[in-house]
């Protein structure tokens, strides 16, 4: 089947996904915000799992943990955002930081300190996506995201050692 659904369409869908996560009575107050984030993270997780399951067999044969992380930076980011992450750092002890200086889900937001609190809504799906993809590739992890100045952000992946 030919290519479809480029990044623009996906970004628009993601905006609606965020809106849906804050619909249906969720979304007011701190608790509502957290409930919405959980929903978004969960959706991202399932999508990530599904994506990894549908990869061609050879793609799963990563020898090193680092190769898997590079796969996220390059292929997953490529599929979702049409580019690679800008930077990857690690402490070589199972913590990886993926940095994107111009994160597409944040670029539509207005710039300014007062909007920073809205930012987690636009990061939660991607956190889940990373965690879900890793999970299907046999790596359990926890993923958090942080923003210091819009629209740059960092995703921290901490691998859980068995």
């Amino acid at each position: 089947m030919p290519a479809m659904a480029d990044e623009t369409l996906f970004q628009l869908l993601h905006t609606q996904v965020v809106a849906a996560a804050y619909g249906a009575g969720r979304g007011s107050g701190d608790e509502g915000l957290r409930a919405g984030l959980t929903v978004l993270e969960g959706m991202g997780f399932r999508v990530g799992q599904g994506l990894a399951e549908r990869l061609p067999q050879g793609a799963l044969a990563f020898r090193e943990e680092l190769d898997t992380i590079k796969f996220l930076c390059r292929d997953l980011w490529g599929a979702v955002f049409g580019k690679q992450t800008d930077n990857l750092r690690t402490n070589h002890q199972g913590t990886y930081i993926l940095q994107d200086n111009n994160f597409p889900f944040l670029t539509q937001m207005a710039w300014g300190q007062q909007y920073l609190e809205e930012a987690p809504k636009f990061l939660a799906f991607t956190c889940g996506l990373l965690r879900g993809t890793l999970s299907s590739l046999g790596i359990e992890s926890s993923v958090t995201a942080s923003v210091t100045s819009l629209p740059a952000c960092k995703f921290q992946v901490v691998i859980q050692k068995a």
Binding site: M1, P2, A3, M4, A5, D6, E7, T8, L9, F10, L12, L13, H14, T15, Q16, V17, A19, A20, A21, G23, A24, V39, M43, R46, V47, G50, L51, R54, L55, P56, G58, A59, L66, K70, F71, C73, R74, D75, L76, G78, A79, V80, Q84, N87, L88, R89, T90, N91, H92, Q93, T95, I97, T144, A145, S146, K154, Q156
Partner: protein, 197 residues
């Protein structure tokens, strides 16, 4: 991000100049799967949130509308299409350019003989349901792809065309094909169009 307060871990930058095109996975196929899976997750969440199929359908249509009114700008910028002079030109454009561009399929267009403003898009393949075998149990009136109707309706509205867009047939419901009906509600004022040309 929380870090241990006293000890700041050292992070080394990895030199990772990689080939632009990955050998391990086809970016295109992943991109398509991503959209289809995300849409599936969205419908699943809506089904959790709303008991009635009708509410889910309406919500999907509303979301599609929100996408359509923004997507049309992208579409016009990238497709460089010329001004259309009839409803049938518009219907062809939706099928041959818009569907092709965003979903990678080209539905066939049929026109209702008795009416000049009713058209149908017949989808042989529907990528959105690629991973869907059947409708979830107890959701027999769910219109799984209703987002598409909203997208078309929203996009048309932004170019000042009001239309009713609904699913007439759906393979997921046992029909032979999937058919989207478009009914244009306002008559194109042809004179006006000519003048603007």
């Amino acid at each position: 991000m929380s870090r241990p307060g006293n000890r700041r871990p050292e992070y080394h930058k990895i030199d990772w100049h990689l080939p632009a095109i990955s050998s391990s996975a086809s970016a295109h196929s992943m991109n398509r799967d991503l959209f289809v899976l995300t849409y599936g997750a969205l419908v699943a969440q809506l089904c959790k949130d709303y008991e009635k199929d009708e509410d889910v359908n309406n919500y999907l249509d509303k979301m599609g509308y929100g996408i359509g009114i923004r997507l049309v700008e992208d579409f016009l910028a990238r497709s460089c299409v010329k001004k259309c002079h009839s409803y049938s030109e518009i219907a062809d454009l939706i099928a041959q350019v818009a569907f092709k561009m965003y979903l990678g399929i080209t539905p066939s267009v049929t026109r209702n003989e008795s009416s000049r403003n009713e058209f149908s898009l017949i989808l042989d393949k529907n990528p959105l349901v690629e991973f869907v075998e059947e409708l979830p149990a107890g959701r027999s009136s769910l219109c799984y792809c209703n987002l598409l109707c909203g997208v078309i309706r929203g996009a048309l509205e932004m170019i000042h065309l009001t239309a009713d867009v609904t699913f007439l047939q759906d393979r997921l419901k046992g029909d032979k094909v999937t058919e989207i009906g478009i009914t244009f509600l306002k008559k194109l004022e042809e004179k006006k169009y000519r003048r603007k040309k």
